[in-house]
Symmetry: C2
Subunit: 333 residues, 2 copies
């Protein structure tokens, strides 16, 4: 049987939530990945070292005996100063900036992208070499939000050339082009944005389980994402943005987020194989992230075998992408 | 209290379904309108005079004692010949063409837009002065489908200049422009496409009750629809495309369709008042349709009064647009 060994696969954008949901999803990520960048958009968001340490402990406890490193982040606040960040640096891998109100639990995000408000914190992050992760969407028309935010990315990137800026979960051809223009711009790409367009969300029957923010875009956008991911481009890395919501909340209330953590590696191998790009998979899934974040993950091999894997209809009460469908690769535990 | 009397308001695009759903929704349309063009996409679709007469009887029975004229249509088939249509003309107001598989119950629609397949029937319809209603969408990317179909509309309109072609439920600026280019092109516009864009469907939380085909488009598209409707342009008329689905089917299975029949007049008066265009409302809601279809509706006055109207959370098990919201106008029964 065909086998692939992935060395220390990393998920550079992950939502683990808290409480019961954390208990369900943390072990699933830990089964597939060596580590993951943990998003801080809890209610309330993680803005203190104390809260961050306690959250990390809850994650570690939920993971159990599996080897898995939660790479912690703080929720960006413009009042983080140099001294705070110098202390925080021992505990965090990055800081995540949300524009206010733009996605799940982002109400406490920043409401102004003015440098007068953000500059001091960005300056300190540059000096301390703390990467800035950004949910890059404007409050404009849903299909234009990311493209509109590109102006902000350009401003950030050009004014703070020493700040590493991660354009999180990019979805557009325009972002792919921008990424190549500035040395200090990097990006994560999700599994689902490599597979779907708006057609899969709203082209046939409406599919709430594929509804996410940023929303899936046009076919030419997906093609651009595929090209840059499959080529092993050093500026992009895998970040699932796996975002669990209970099934009833997805179906009754239209929460945004696609749950992919337990099926992501299997679907990525299938995709890279389909496009004859398996030689670049480890760059996308681990090596690029190590370079961009300048860190060494724990050593952990994940073995994938080519046999049919029937994706469960749900994990707990969370419906995954590809629920009840077969993938061509399975993880050998 | 401010009052408006609407003379014989017409809904020129309506789905009444059948059986229990028909019993629920037919009386609601009859309370607001003097008549409506009844869509033929039942399962199986209405393709014979016998089925059409029986469906009309079921509608009349469901409506009860209210004055209301069902304006019947046949489901387009390319084997309708002159003799069949000459006979059918006594019973129908139009024929509705669906591209195969493009919307609810359209599986039996036409799979080719070639004139070799359609030309003979179009020729007969031109001679007999039977309007052709078209669901104009390609099978392309969801945001491009109507724009792509404009090429087909141009082909139909230029090759059959005597055929009245109704571009049903137009949603784009491009369709508004095309409409003005050919003398024999007309259009219906829904209530919801005058109110919403894709932002309302998928810009915040996903809203299955505003999901429809064609999907709501961009802000500039909505502006173009508003301009042509509010101006009283003679080539456009109101067609609700009110399309009821049971609540659970909307929420679990993502069926396409917005249910507006019982709240449409109230919301239209509110909209035309907001834009200081009340003097054009009767054109949009009745007069233009009478000219385009060359017919006289039954006489029926509907009185709207300016008082708050709390839209019910559901009618039967169907959730209407604006459920639990207040409109500024109410119907005086």
């Amino acid at each position: 049987m065909k086998k692939i060994v992935l060395k220390s696969p990393l998920d550079m954008h992950l939502h683990l939530r808290d409480n019961e949901m954390l208990e369900v999803v943390a072990p699933l990520s830990a089964k597939s990945f060596a580590g993951a960048i943990i998003m801080p958009n809890l209610v309330p968001p993680i803005t203190s070292i104390k809260d961050l340490i306690e959250y990390k402990e809850r994650i570690t406890s939920a993971v159990g005996s599996e080897k898995f490193e939660p790479l912690m982040t703080l929720f960006f606040k413009s009042d983080y100063n140099y001294n705070f960040l110098k202390d925080a640096k021992r505990y965090i891998k990055a800081i995540k900036l949300y524009p206010s109100g733009i996605t799940t639990n982002s109400e406490d995000g920043v409401s102004s992208m003015d440098m007068e408000d953000l500059g001091e914190t960005f300056e300190a992050m540059s000096e301390l070499e703390i990467p800035l992760c950004v949910h890059g969407e404007s409050d404009g028309f849903v299909m234009d939000r990311e493209a509109e935010f590109c102006l902000i990315y350009e401003k950030f990137a050009s004014k703070f050339p020493k700040l590493k800026i991660i354009m999180e979960h990019i979805t557009t051809k325009k972002s792919v082009e921008l990424l190549k223009k500035y040395e200090n711009l990097y990006a994560t790409i999700t599994l689902h944005h490599l597979y779907i367009t708006l057609d899969d969300v709203a082209g046939g029957m409406l599919n709430p389980h594929l509804f996410c923010k940023p929303i899936a875009k046009r076919p030419e956008d997906k093609e651009a994402l595929l090209e840059v991911a499959l080529s092993g481009n050093e500026k992009v890395m895998f970040g699932s943005d796996s975002a669990p919501h209970p099934q009833y909340q997805k179906e009754c209330c239209g929460c945004a987020g696609v749950f992919t953590a337990p099926i992501a590696l299997q679907a990525l191998v299938q995709l890279f194989e389909k496009y004859n790009s398996l030689e670049n998979l480890e760059k996308f899934i681990s090596i690029n992230a190590q370079k961009i974040y300048a860190f060494k993950p724990i050593e952990k091999d994940i073995v994938l075998v080519k046999r049919n894997f029937l994706v469960p209809s749900s994990y707990g009460d969370v419906v995954p992408m590809f629920a009840n469908e077969e993938l061509e690769w399975d993880i050998e535990y």
